[in-house]
Structures are given as structure tokens and as C-alpha cells.
């Protein structure tokens, strides 16, 4: 089933991409415009995606052994943490957002006790801040906490 949904997603993407490339100036073979390559790729993508969709619908739906027992939450938790990071970073600056994301992942992966997870998250956050911010001079989103640590 997942295969069919992804195949359908490819077709939709191809249609949107092709539609987006047409308003750009396609030009002619002698004078190709900015939309020439996107339009060419878009057409090929639509053909390939349609063929893939056709193939997926022709093969019978099979449920893999792992899929039948339900979706594993851990990888999706990691994905959620990765997605949440830029949102948190823009509002809470580096230390708090990194600590929250690290702690959430360690708790999700059940590393030792919750307290150990929190302590490791704290240590990793501080170490990464000093490594990137101080040693590699990367400009990280800073607030009062970060400034205080750097001043210290």
C-alpha cells in the first residue's frame, strides 16, 4: 500500500513541477530559455512516475512481515525531533532547543534511566556549543544563557 501512495506522490510532484516550469520561458531548441531544462525534466518525470504508478497498481498489495506488526515509533520520533529543531531554534536559541531535542531523542530511545538521559543531553548540548560556538566560531542563535557561558 505504501508503495502505491509513494508512486502517487511522485506523479503529483511531477504534475506540480511541470506546471511550475511552463510559466518560465521554455524557449526553442536554438535558444533554450530558463524553463527549458525544468520542462524537459518535468515531462520525463511525469512519464516515469506514471509508468511506476501503473506498475505498482498492477502488482498485488503485499504486507511485509515488519509492517503487519505496526509502525515502529522510534524513527518517527527522531524525524519529529529533527523537524521541531528549526522551530525551537528560532524561538529558544541554541542551548535550550538543543537540550530539549537531545533529551527527547535519548528518552525516546530509552537510554538508561531518564535522569541519565537528561544529564547526557545537558553535557552534549554544552560540549557541542563550546565546540561549534567557541572552537569553530560558528554563529549560533544566542540569548542571555549563551552570552553568559561565552563570557564565563
Amino acid at each position: 500500500m505504501k508503495d502505491r501512495i509513494v508512486a502517487l506522490g511522485f506523479v503529483l510532484f511531477a504534475i506540480i513541477f511541470l506546471a511550475g516550469s511552463l510559466p518560465l520561458k521554455v524557449g526553442t531548441a536554438a535558444r533554450p530559455g530558463a524553463g527549458f531544462m525544468p520542462a524537459m525534466v518535468g515531462v520525463c518525470l511525469l512519464v516515469a512516475a506514471s509508468y511506476n504508478l501503473f506498475r505498482q497498481f498492477r502488482t498485488p498489495v503485499s504486507v511485509p512481515a515488519g509492517e503487519a506488526s505496526g509502525v515502529r515509533l522510534t524513527p518517527w520520533g527522531i524525524a519529529a525531533a529533527t523537524f521541531a529543531y528549526p522551530v525551537l531554534l528560532s524561538h529558544l536559541n541554541y542551548l535550550v532547543s538543543t537540550f530539549l531535542v537531545m533529551a527527547a531523542m535519548l528518552l525516546l530511545l530509552r537510554f538508561k534511566s531518564p535522569w541519565v538521559s537528561v544529564l547526557i543531553a545537558l553535557a552534549a548540548t554544552l560540549a557541542s556549543f563550546l565546540f561549534f560556538g567557541k572552537l569553530l566560531s560558528v554563529v549560533l542563535p544566542s540569548g542571555v544563557l549563551e552570552d553568559a557561558i561565552l563570557a564565563f
Binding site: 513541477f17 516550469s21 536554438a30 524525524a79 529533527t82 529543531y85 528560532s90 561549534f132
Partner: protein, 496 residues
Amino acid sequence: MDVIQHLMFGFNTAATPVNLLYALAGAFVGTIVGVLPGIGPLGSMAILLSFTLNMEATSAMIFFAGIYYGAMYGGSTTSILLNIPGEAASVVTCIDGFKMAQKGRGGAALTISAVGSFVAGTLSIVGLMFAASALADAALKFGPPEFFAIGLVGLVFLVRLSGGSTSKNVLMLLLGLALGCVGTDHLFGTARFTFGLDELAQGVEFLPVAMGLFGIAEVMTTAAQADELGQVIRVKLRDLLPRVEEWRRSAWPVLRGSVLGFFIGLLPGPSPVISTFVSYMTEKKLSKHPEEFGQGAIEGVAGPESANNAAVGGAYVPLMALGVPFTPAMAVVVGALMLHGITPGPMLMTERPELFWGVIASMYIGNVMLLILNVPMAQMFVQILKIPRQLLLPLIVLMCLVGVYSVNSSYIDLYVLALLGIAGFVLRTLGYEPAPLVLALVIGPMMETALRESLIIFRGDVSRMVFRPIAGTIYLVALAALLAPPLIRLFRRGGR
């Protein structure tokens, strides 16, 4: 003679304390990466890409070469002692390597594997040195039609050789080309698919795409797998010395693996992996004792382990000579060069000789370092597998997040990382290979420029673009290579 002089110049660059340190660090990190299942050389190179920002371009390349070679060395250790391939190019080594370890010959298998890798690595660098400089000289005569031909043929081969479903590989390749179209058009300055975001004007950054597809997606895949570690077979120091018979039986497989690996490495796609399978089958066919294969034949370790190391040298040839990456790992190397404002290509050798020859010289040094690191310290590297995944995975994600942010201080890059990480995870579970996407993203813009320039030069006449001496030969050779295997099969069937 020129080559020798240039190599000496390269050794002067590579032998500075800083570069020696980066070569050692790369070899060490690469070995660890090779030992750890799940995080392959590609993922680690993508993750460490942002770290190279503060390095000199030459040091960064030396560091990456060390990682790539180190991963090939390290992958064999867990294959032999644990029956777990550290990365895809070591899968074949499991077959006979682990059987040897069970029979108490694990030490000999480790030594033969390391020495074979060293010999093959060194021979392939000699090949790289001569082939790359000759090809770079020839490439100075290339125009846009030739570069388009190389890009197109490379992508076609990549689709055929990447494994899995061809139609899925084509889709991933086209997706990569589509992503490569995002950003300001090079010829007319028109904004394409930028949605009014300034951050997309320069195009979709390679770093978050590579880190997402190979870093975050690998972490998610590893998190979804069961955490089981088999019993490690212990090897004593005195067992590391192979018997005379084992040395004798390994000599030819090492040499054959070196040659095979180097030439397969020139092809687009996962060449180190393919080279191990080809080498294993060749050795089995040529062996006087084919029945021993699968039961602990030393040739089954010596050949493939030499081949995967030689393939690394081969993979560097098109990158160093033409600036065209044919493997995903080489695409990461191009990403690193671009981060330093260097466009790889035939001019690299003349414009940045210290980089070109420094990297080649550092490969010789790195191979010696890896030989010293790997044989006596194999048992220590295996202990790395005891680090709990629950601790390792969040740390890798953190490195990816901060690494991507540190390059452009861009939140968009972080969203791209997360999105491509999820996409990579889902697509991989359904059999879509991410490698064609990454390579198409890198090669796509170069191909677009070459295609449009060619069409403008020849006023839209495609035949004049194709029927040129060099471009035509490239298309012909590619066509012959693609059509030969099915035609040979057809003739054989007809002959029966």
C-alpha cells in the same frame, strides 16, 4: 618524469604536520565508520562535510580520502570477526572471512585483508596518478557537448548499476535533476521555483540533501532495526601472522582484485560494492579448490578486500580529471570542494596543483597509516560496537543539525535536512536508492549549462552535438557497454 616531480611536490604538501594529522584523523574516523554497521562512509562524509569549513581545501580533501579508504579497511574487521559487514562493500568478506575466524584463522584473514587492501590501495593510486593526469590533459579539449555527453552517459550507467529497480532509479535520478533546477538560472538570471525565498536563489544546497538522505535517513533506519550483537571472535597477536601457504594463495587474488577494482571504480554507481562481487566470482572460477569457497577460502577474502580498496582510487579518476563525480561519495567530495569555492575539473591540476598532488600523495601516506592502524588494533576497533546505539544515534543527529546550520546559518537548510531525512527513510524502505538523486543534484546543473550552451552554439541542431569525434565516441562506447551483455546472452542462448 613530470608525474614523479609532481608527486614529490604532492608529498611536500601532504607531509606537513597539519595534513599528516588530518590524514591520520580521516583514516581513524574512516576505520571506526567502517566498523560501525549502518553509518557507512557516505553518511559519515556527509555528516563531517560541515566540519571541513574551517580547514584548508587540501586538508579537507586529505581528510575525506582518509575516511573513504579507512571505511574500506574497517568494514572487513567486523565482517571477519562478527559476520556483520560494517558497510556494503564488505558483505562478500563475511562469506569466507567469518568461516576462517570460526576455524581459528581470523587473525590471518585480518592480516591478509589489510595487506591486500594496502597493496590494492597503493596500486590504484599509481593508476589514478597516471590516468587522471592523462585524462585531464585530454579533457582540456572538451567543450560543452562533450561534458554533456559525459554527464548523460554517467547518469545512464548509474541507473543501470545502482542495483534495485531500474524504473525506481530513473525516478530518483529525475527527482535529483528537478531539485537541481531550483534557484537562479545561470544564463538568464531568472528565478526558478524559489517561492520568493532568497535562501533558495542559490539552489537547493547539496549539504542538507546529502546529510538528510544519508545521515538522518540512516539514523532512522538504524533506529528501526533490532539491536543485536553476536559473539566477537577473539584474535591473539600471534595468530595475526598468516601461514606461507596462505600468503602464496593470496598473492594473485590481491593483484587481480587490484586491477579489477580499479577499472570497476571508473564506472558510475556503487563501484566498491560491485567490485567485491566480481572479484569473488572471478577467484572462485579461477581457483583450483572452488569447493573451499564459502567454507573459509583465503582467496575469498584477499580478492574482494583488495578490489574494494582499488575501486576507491578508480572512483577518484573522473572527479579529479573531469570534475564529474560518478559515485555518491565523490559527490560529497565535490560538495566539500564547492564549500571552499573550488570547482573541480580538468583545470584543477594546473590551477591547484598542491591540492591535486597533495591528495594523491596523502593517499599513499594514508594507506601506510591504515595498515599500521588496522592489523594490531583490530580487536580495539571491534569494541566500538559496544557503544549503545541509543547514545550514538542522537549524537549523530545533533552533528547533522548543527553541521547543516553552521554552513549558512539557514533555517531553510534545517527544514530541507529534516524533509530529505524522512523522504530518504521512506523511499529506502520501499527500494528507492538515494544515490542517483544525490548525483543528479550535483551533475544536473553542469549538464543543463552544457546542454543549453551546446544548443545555442549549434543553433538547436542536436545531430551536430552528438556526431562529434569525442562526444560521438563517448556515446558509442556507452551504447556498446550497455548493449553488449544482453546481446552476448542472446547469442549464447541462440547457440544452444
